[in-house]
């Protein structure tokens, strides 16, 4: 028996444009597996890609979904890194708990700084994020006894994963670890994006005044989002610290904030997939370019930003989805 309410449900469902698992996710898993089996020499690079994807996903939640414009996301990456490193150095070398510590530390910072700065919007907010991140960089530089200053934190060991898998020098365990964390983070990000909260923050991004007039406490929602985003960025930083066994001032540098922004511009903001595409393109390109000439990489970066913002403001995934949308529109009944 045909159930008409099921039809309406289906229409409504697609009208709410939530993220659905599809061929893209399958392709991601296939690519991850293919790298493991087919490119064993590239596992360290692939691990860097995974870390960058996690970092970019965290920024996408804040920027793409919530409209929080930030030039200081490195703050969370660095806090996560230092937290994981200090944890391994002084408390326990167990990696998974270290990631939780990294997430908690970064998330807490997101809460505190969010409450303070998220009242601002636009250029003022960008300035504040920049100021906060730069301040943290200076602070880490000053607290040499804790952070190791210019030299950074090193010499901490990371225990075998789950007590069994030692971090080998070919980066095999590191890769599996990073991919596993990425899967968890992706699912979490997707959870947030698809939830009521996700729709609400998208509304806040689009028209914050109207959201207030719908009775939504905008600042509170943004702070929670910033906290979640910060925590996930902290996971990326912590993962990096554990996998490379080194964390330094460069994890708090402006270039880190700039790079993750570029990743999102390249890949596309606000659609989660963009983080994946952008990260892959960026990390692979930078690796190739760095091999050739590290400073000329900045030329490539510069051109990439300028041309992407100019010609493809929605990034690669945006171009792709606007093509598919046009195709769908053509196939639609008038």
């Amino acid at each position: 028996m045909h159930d008409p309410s099921a039809d309406t449900d289906l229409e409504m469902r697609s009208a709410l444009r939530t993220h659905r698992f599809g061929w893209f996710e399958v392709a991601m898993l296939v690519a991850a597996a293919a790298t493991w089996f087919g490119l064993p020499g590239y596992l360290p690079l692939a691990t860097q890609v995974a870390i960058m994807i996690i970092f970019a996903l965290s920024l996408d939640l804040a920027l793409g979904y919530g409209g929080i414009e930030t030039l200081g996301h490195a703050a969370f990456f660095g806090i996560g890194g230092y937290a994981a490193g200090l944890y391994a150095l002084h408390v326990s070398s167990e990696p998974i708990s270290g990631l939780f510590v990294a997430a908690a530390a970064a998330g807490l910072f997101g809460l505190v700084s969010g409450v303070v700065i998220l009242r601002a919007r636009g250029l003022a907010l960008v300035m504040l994020t920049l100021a906060v991140a730069t301040m943290l960089h200076e602070l880490a530089n000053s607290m040499r006894s804790v952070t190791g200053g210019d030299d950074g934190l090193a010499g901490y060991t990371i225990d075998p994963l789950l007590g069994m898998f030692r971090f080998d020098m070919f980066g095999r365990t590191a890769y599996l670890y990073a991919v596993a964390v990425l899967v968890v983070v992706f699912i979490l990000a997707r959870f947030v994006a698809n939830s009521n909260f996700g729709l609400t923050v998208r509304g806040i991004r689009t028209n914050p005044q109207r959201m207030q007039l719908l009775g939504v406490p905008v600042l509170s929602r943004l702070v929670v989002l910033y906290m979640i985003s910060g925590a996930l960025a902290g996971v990326a930083g912590g993962l990096s610290a554990q996998v490379t066994r080194l964390v330094g001032l460069n994890s708090l540098a402006f270039t880190v904030s700039g790079n993750v922004l570029i990743v999102l511009i390249l890949g596309g903001i606000g659609r989660l997939h963009g983080a994946v595409i952008g990260a892959i393109v960026f990390v692979v390109l930078s690796d190739r370019a760095a091999a050739i000439d590290p400073f000329n990489w900045l030329f490539v970066l510069g051109f990439l930003i300028v041309f992407t913002v100019w010609l493809a403001p929605d990034g690669i995934s945006g171009r792709f989805s606007s093509w598919t949308r046009q195709l769908r529109m053509r196939g639609r009944k008038p």
Partner: protein, 289 residues
């Protein structure tokens, strides 16, 4: 308690540092004030000016005082060209898009400078007339620092005269106050912006050249001091030259004194101060429009 001589030195150091920040920031505050154009590549022009002066002195053997106006002119020309071409695209973007695009331009500037001049820190050789110290009644002051304060003050005075007393300045003030009204009353805001932009590049170049002793030249110059300059602009209030002057001086003094009295915390002091200020008064020292 440090001696009077030390305090005076610190004061002059802080003031000269602040004045350099002001010179560089002045162009940015005007363009931001008129059109809300966010130009993260602005410090790049200070850098270009510095490197141009370097090339003219070290490379071509010109004297410092001959290279100075020439390097400024070169930077103004480059800035004007960029404004007429690339920045046309930037203007049409959203605020965040402008931030990103000009960031990209800054990256390009850094890369270009690195290709041409290498990545090591460089100094512009200063004439012997400006080196050394003066001893005034038992107090020692650096000649160059005094020169800095002198030149910056002179330029600031000139700027003030133009701003308050000329037709051009009046139109500029109108455009900053209310660009739409200004356009409606027949002021060619676009042309005004182009001139202000070019002038801003020149001022930044001046700051970069004379300030090279304090802010040494390196490819990352364009981004390294960006945060500081942005802070001067924000605290001083968008579009307020007076605000930038005061903010620059304050930041310069706070930084210098901060580093002296709290050496372990060095640069941290200034950022905490700035943050506290920005949170208390997001509109800046001198609210303008």
């Amino acid at each position: 308690m440090p001696s009077i001589s030390t305090l005076l030195s610190l004061f002059i150091d802080g003031a000269s540092y602040g004045m350099i920040l002001f010179l560089i920031a002045s162009g940015l505050t005007v363009t931001l004030g008129i059109m809300r154009i966010v130009n993260l590549a602005h410090c790049g022009f200070a850098m270009i000016g510095g490197y141009a002066a370097l090339a003219l002195t070290s490379g071509l053997g010109l004297s410092f005082f001959a290279a100075l106006p020439l390097a400024i002119a070169i930077t103004v020309a480059i800035g004007f060209l960029m404004e007429q071409t690339i920045y046309r695209v930037v203007y049409r973007r959203s605020e965040f898009g402008q931030i990103l695009m000009t960031l990209g331009l800054a990256y390009l500037m850094i890369a270009s400078v690195n290709v041409l001049f290498g990545s090591l820190l460089q100094n512009i050789p200063i004439p012997s007339a400006l080196t050394g110290v003066w001893i005034v009644g038992g107090l020692t002051v650096s000649v160059y620092r005094v020169f800095l304060v002198g030149v910056s003050s002179g330029v600031a005075l000139l700027m003030w005269l133009v701003f308050e007393w000329t037709m051009f300045g009046a139109k500029l003030r109108a455009a900053i106050d209310n660009p739409r009204m200004a356009r409606a009353s027949g002021i060619d805001v676009g042309r005004l912006l182009s001139i202000a932009f070019a002038a801003g590049c020149g001022l930044a170049a001046l700051g970069g050249i004379v300030g090279a002793q304090l802010l040494p030249l390196e490819p990352f110059y364009a981004l390294k001091y960006l945060v500081l300059v942005l802070m001067v602009v924000t605290i001083g209030g968008l579009g307020s030259l007076r605000g930038s002057l005061v903010a620059g001086l304050l930041l310069g003094l706070i930084d210098t004194f901060g580093r002296y009295f709290l050496p372990e915390f060095g640069g941290f002091v200034i950022y905490v101060t700035v943050l506290a200020f920005l949170l208390a008064r997001p509109g800046g020292l001198f609210q303008n429009a």
